[in-house]
Amino acid sequence: MRKLIVNRLAASFGVLFLVSTLLFFMAELSPIDPVTLSLGDSATPEQEAMKRAELGLDRPALTRYAKWLGQAAGGDLGRSYLHGHDVANELMRRLPVTLALCLGAMAIALVVGLTAGIAGGLQPGSIADRVITLVVSLGLALPGFWLGLLLAMAFAVHLRWFPVIGYTPLSVDPLAWMRGLVLPCVGLSIHAFSVIARQVRGAVIEASASTYVQTMRAAGASSRTIAFRFVVKNAIVPVLSVIGLQMAVIVSASVVMEHVFALPGIGSMLLEAIVTNDMPLLQGGVLLVACFVLAINLVVDIFLGALDPRARPA
C-alpha cells in the first residue's frame, strides 16, 4: 500500500510539473500583452518599458520560466496584473469557500448516488428502481446551474429558509455559513449524483449476475450477505474511476455554482481572470484546481488499491 501511495505521489508531481509548464507557455502564447493590460492604452513607451522590466518580461522566456517555476514551487505565484494582489494570498483567502462547496457537493453526490445506485441495482425493475432511474435521467439532462436558480427561487426567495446569494465565513457565523452552502452544494451535486447512481446501478446489476454470486447462493448465504458483503464491493471497483472523474467535474463546475450564488471562491476568481486576461491569477487558480484534481485521483487510487487486490503493485 505504501508503495502504491509513493508511486502515485511521484506520478502526481510529474503531472503537476507538466501542468505548470503548460500554464506558463499558455501565457506566453496568449496574444494579450500584460503591460498594456496593467497600464492601459495611454501609457508612454518609457512607462511601458519600465513596467516590462518590473514584470521581468524583458528577459528570455526560458529564464523567466525557470524563475517562475522556482517561485511557484516555493508558493510564490506572482501578482495579479490587474489589481496587483499577491496571487497566493488571494487563493488562500478564497480556498475555504470553494473547498466547503466542493466537499459538500461531493459528500451529497457520493452518499446519495451510491445509495440510489445500490438500491436500484439490487432490485432492478422495482418501483424504487423506476423512480431512481427517472430522477437520474432528469438529473443528467438538467443543467446544474438552472437547478441552482430554481432551488434559490423556491427555498430562498419564497420560503426564505436559506439566503439567496452570498457567503458568510465559518468564523463569523457557523449556522449562517452552513445555510448559505446548502443550496449551492445540492445544485452542484446533481449531475455527479446522477452519473454515479447510474453507473453504480449498472455495475451492481452486472455483479449480481456473476458466477461468484451463484456460488454464494449455492453455499446458502442470505441475499443480504451476498449483496452487502460481495456484490457491492465488486460493483464499486469498476466505477471508482468514474466516481473520481465526477469529483473532478464537481471541482470544475463549482465555477458555475459560485457564479449563480455569488460565492467569493476560486471559481469566481477564475472567471474574472479569464474575462480580464489576468494571467498570473488564472495560472494560480488553475494550478490549485489541478492540485485538487490530483488529490482526488490519489484518493481514488488508494481506494482502488484497498478494494481491489489486482490493482496493488506486486
Binding site: A219, V256, D308, P309
Partner: protein
C-alpha cells in the same frame, strides 16, 4: 421507456436481433420514436425560426420589461422587454447549432485520428493513447476554460473547445474498433486482394463502427449542449445579447429576485433537448448491445408448480427407466420442467427430467452445452435464473419437495445438505475477496461459528484438498491461485458443511488435462470419506466413464437415455448417445475426451422440432420420428431403440 418484452439474457434471440437492423428496431420503440419526432420538430423550429417566432428576438420594448406570460407574449418578456418565446425559438438555432457543429467536428477529426493510430499501431498507438488518457483525466469544463483563456471569448472558441474535448471519445472508439477489425480475416483477404489502404479503412472497417459512433454522438450532442449552455451562462460563450438558452439563463439569474419565471422557458428548453438526446442514446445502446431491460418484479407463481407427492419409497435405488415420478434415492428428481417466458409463450429449457441419486453413488449427466444439464443442477437448489421458473415436477430431498420450498428453507439446504461446485473456479470466486473469506461462507451461513473457528476449519479443509500452505493461503486472493488450486479451494468450500449431495457442474472442464485427473481423484476420495452422492455434470464421456456409476444423457432439455454406466456405454440405445461416443476420440486416455462434435446444433428451447427433438440431426430418423413427441421408455427416448441394438456402428 422500454419495451416490456422480456427474455432470459442467454436466450436473447441473436438471429432475430441481427435480422432487423438497428434503425428498424429504433423506430419500433415508442420512446425513441417520440424523441426522433421531437428532435425533428426542434430542428424544424430552429431552421424556420423567422417564420415561427412571433417577434424578432432582438426587438426591444422597454415599456414591457420583465412581464409574465400574456396573450401578446406567451412566455412573457425579458429584462429589455424582448419576447421570451421568440428568443427561445431563435435560441434553438445557436444552442443546437453549436452543439451539432462541435460534435460533427469532433466526430470527423476524432474518428480519423482514431482510425489512423489504430491502423499504424505500435509506437504511434501507445504514445497517442497516453496523450488521450491524460486529456481525458481533465474535466471538460477546465479544458474549455483553458482554450477560451487562450483564444478569447465567443461562440467560435467555445465550439472549438467542445469539439477538442469530444474528439477524444471518438478517438477511443475508432481506435478500439480498428484494432479489433484489423485482426479479422476479411481485412487480410482485402489486403491480399490488393485493395488500397484507404478503401479498406473506409469501405471495410468504418461500417463496423457506425453503431457505437451513433450511440456516442447522441449522448455527446446532449453533453455538448450542457457545456455550451454553461459557458454562455458564465458569459464566456455566446455574446450576452444573442438569443441563446445559456445566456438567457444568465439574464434570468440577474433578475431572479424580481421575475423568477424568466429562467423557466430556457431552462426547460435545455433540459428537454438534452433529455431527448440521452434517451435516444440509451435506447440505441440497448439495441446495439442486445440488452433487454429487466421486466418488473416477475416472480414464479407458487401455484404454478405441480405438487407431486412423494410416492411410497422404493427400497431399491433402481435405474429410472420410464417417465413418471422417481423415488428411492437420497435425491429424487421427478418430471422437472422449467420454462422461460419468451415472447408470448414460454420456452422449455427442461422438460420432464427425472432421475434419482442414491447415497454414495455418482450419477453422471452428459450432453452438449445447451442440453439443460446445468439448469437441472441449479433447479435442484432452487437457483433457476430469473425469469425462468419451475412449472412442473418435484425435487424430493429427505422428505421435502425443494421445488416448492420457500427461499428460507432452501437456504438451509444449500451448502449444508446439497453443495455445488462450478465450471470455472476463477469466475466462481469473487476477485476482490480473499479465498479465506469465501471458503467460510457456508460455515458462517449454517454453523454459528466464530470467524476464527471458521477459518481454522477452512484451513484444515484447504489442507485436506491438497492446497499447500493452506493457512497462509487463506489470505490470498483468487488471482493468486492457479486454476487447479482454485478448483480445490472451491471443493473445500463446498465440503465445509459435509453435504450429503454434491452437484459438480463441469468441475474439470476449465483445467489442464493432468490437473483434471487429480481433481477427479480428489473428488472420488472425498466421496468415499464423506459418503456423499455426486451428480457429475459434464460433456466429457471420458470423465463419465472414469467416475460414474450411472448416467443420464441429456438432449434439448430431456433425458434421452439412462442406465448403468457400463450398459449405456457398451450398448447405447439412443442415436445421440452413440453420436456422442463416436465424437469422442477412443485412442486418448479416459480423461482425454475432448468436446464432442456432432453435425448440427442443439435446437434453441423456443424453437424445438416437432416429434423427436433429435430428428434433424439423427441419421436413423424415419418419418414416424417427426410426428409425435417420443416418450422415455425402458431407458431410451428413441422409437428405434430396439433396432439400434442390432444395427452395427
Amino acid at each position: 421507456m422500454t419495451s416490456s418484452q422480456s427474455a432470459a439474457p442467454q436466450m436473447t434471440d441473436l438471429d432475430a436481433t441481427r435480422a432487423s437492423t438497428w434503425t428498424d428496431q429504433l423506430l419500433r420503440r415508442p420512446a425513441s420514436l417520440f424523441c426522433l419526432a421531437a428532435l425533428a420538430l426542434l430542428a424544424g423550429t430552429a431552421i424556420f425560426a423567422p417564420l415561427v417566432a412571433p417577434y424578432h428576438p432582438e426587438a426591444v420594448d422597454t415599456l414591457r420589461r420583465l412581464q409574465g406570460p400574456s396573450i401578446d407574449h406567451w412566455l412573457g418578456t425579458d429584462s429589455l422587454g424582448r419576447d421570451v418565446l421568440s428568443r427561445v425559438i431563435y435560441g434553438a438555432r445557436v444552442s443546437l447549432g453549436a452543439a451539432v457543429v462541435s460534435v460533427t467536428l469532433a466526430a470527423v477529426a476524432g474518428t480519423s485520428i482514431g482510425l489512423l493510430i489504430g491502423y499504424l499501431g505500435g509506437w504511434w498507438d501507445s504514445v497517442a493513447m497516453r496523450v488521450v488518457d491524460a486529456l481525458q483525466s481533465i474535466p471538460a469544463l477546465v479544458f474549455a476554460f483553458a482554450i477560451i483563456a487562450l483564444v478569447g471569448k465567443g461562440i467560435v472558441p467555445t465550439t472549438l473547445a467542445v469539439a477538442v474535448i469530444f474528439a477524444i471519445a471518438y478517438i477511443r472508439i475508432a481506435r478500439g474498433v480498428m484494432l479489433r477489425e484489423r485482426q479479422r480475416r476479411y481485412v487480410d483477404a482485402a489486403t491480399a486482394a490488393g485493395l488500397p489502404t484507404p478503401r479498406i479503412i473506409f469501405g471495410e472497417i468504418l461500417p463496423n463502427m457506425v453503431g457505437p459512433l451513433v450511440v456516442e454522438t447522441a449522448i455527446l450532442l446532449g453533453s455538448a449542449q450542457l457545456i455550451i449552455a454553461m459557458l454562455s451562462f458564465l458569459g464566456l460563450g455566446v455574446d450576452a445579447d444573442a438569443a441563446d438558452w445559456g445566456s438567457m439563463l444568465n439574464d434570468a439569474r440577474i433578475y431572479q429576485g424580481v421575475h423568477p419565471f424568466l429562467s423557466i422557458p430556457s431552462g426547460l428548453a435545455i433540459t428537454f433537448s438534452v433529455l431527448l438526446f440521452n434517451v435516444l442514446g440509451d435506447d440505441l445502446r440497448d439495441i446495439l448491445t442486445g440488452t433487454q431491460r429487466p421486466a418488473a418484479g416477475r416472480r414464479a407463481p407458487q401455484g404454478a408448480v405441480a405438487l407431486s407427492a412423494p410416492a411410497a419409497a422404493d427400497a431399491s435405488c433402481g435405474v429410472a427407466k420410464d417417465e413418471g415420478s422417481q423415488t428411492g434415492g437420497i435425491l429424487d428428481v421427478s418430471g422437472l420442467t422449467i420454462e422461460f417466458p419468451v415472447g408470448n409463450n414460454g420456452a422449455r429449457v427442461l422438460d420432464g427430467v427425472s432421475f434419482s441419486l442414491c447415497a454414495g453413488e455418482t450419477f453422471g449427466l452428459v450432453g452438449e452445452s445447451g442440453s439443460g444439464k446445468s439448469q437441472t443442477a441449479l433447479a435442484i437448489l432452487g437457483l433457476t435464473p430469473k425469469p425462468g421458473m419451475v412449472t412442473a415436477g418435484s425435487v424430493h430431498f429427505e422428505g421435502r419437495n425443494l421445488a416448492t420450498a420457500g427461499e428460507h428453507d432452501l437456504r438451509r439446504v444449500r451448502g449444508k445438505e446439497i453443495a455445488m461446485i462450478f465450471q470455472d473456479p476463477m469466475a466462481a470466486f469473487s476477485p476482490v475477496h480473499t479465498i479465506g473469506d469465501q471458503v467460510i461462507v457456508p460455515l458462517q451461513a449454517h454453523a454459528k461459528l466464530s470467524r476464527a473457528a471458521a477459518r481454522d476449519r477452512a484451513a484444515d479443509l484447504l489442507d485436506r484438498v491438497g492446497v499447500p500452505n493452506a493457512r497462509r493461503r487463506l489470505d490470498d486472493y483468487p488471482h493468486q491461485f492457479s486454476g487447479g488450486m482454485a478448483q480445490r479451494a472451491m471443493i473445500a468450500m463446498a465440503l465445509t458443511c459435509e453435504p450429503k449431495v454434491l452437484l459438480a457442474d463441469e468441475p474439470t472442464t476449465a483445467l489442464d488435462v493432468t490437473i483434471q485427473a487429480q481433481v477427479l481423484d480428489l473428488l472420488h476420495e472425498l466421496q468415499q470419506e464423506m459418503e456423499m452422492a455426486i451428480l457429475l455434470i459434464t460433456h466429457d464421456l471420458g470423465v463419465v466413464a472414469a467416475t460414474c456409476d450411472r448416467v443420464g444423457v441429456m438432449y434439448s432439455g430431456q433425458i434421452v437415455e439412462t442406465g448403468n454406466m457400463s450398459d449405456v456405454f457398451d450398448t447405447p440405445r439412443h442415436p445421440y448417445t452413440r453420436a456422442l461416443m463416436e465424437a469422442t476420440p477412443h485412442s486418448s486416455s479416459a480423461f482425454g475426451g475432448r468436446l464432442p462434435t456432432i453435425d448440427g446444433r442443439v435446437p434453441p428451447p423456443w424453437n424445438l422440432p416437432q416429434g423427436c427433438r433429435f430428428h434433424p440431426r439423427c441419421r436413423f430418423a424415419i418419418k414416424a420420428c417427426t410426428v409425435a413427441p417420443v416418450p422415455l421408455m425402458d431407458g431410451s427416448r428413441c422409437l428405434r431403440a430396439g433396432e439400434l441394438l442390432m444395427a452395427e456402428v
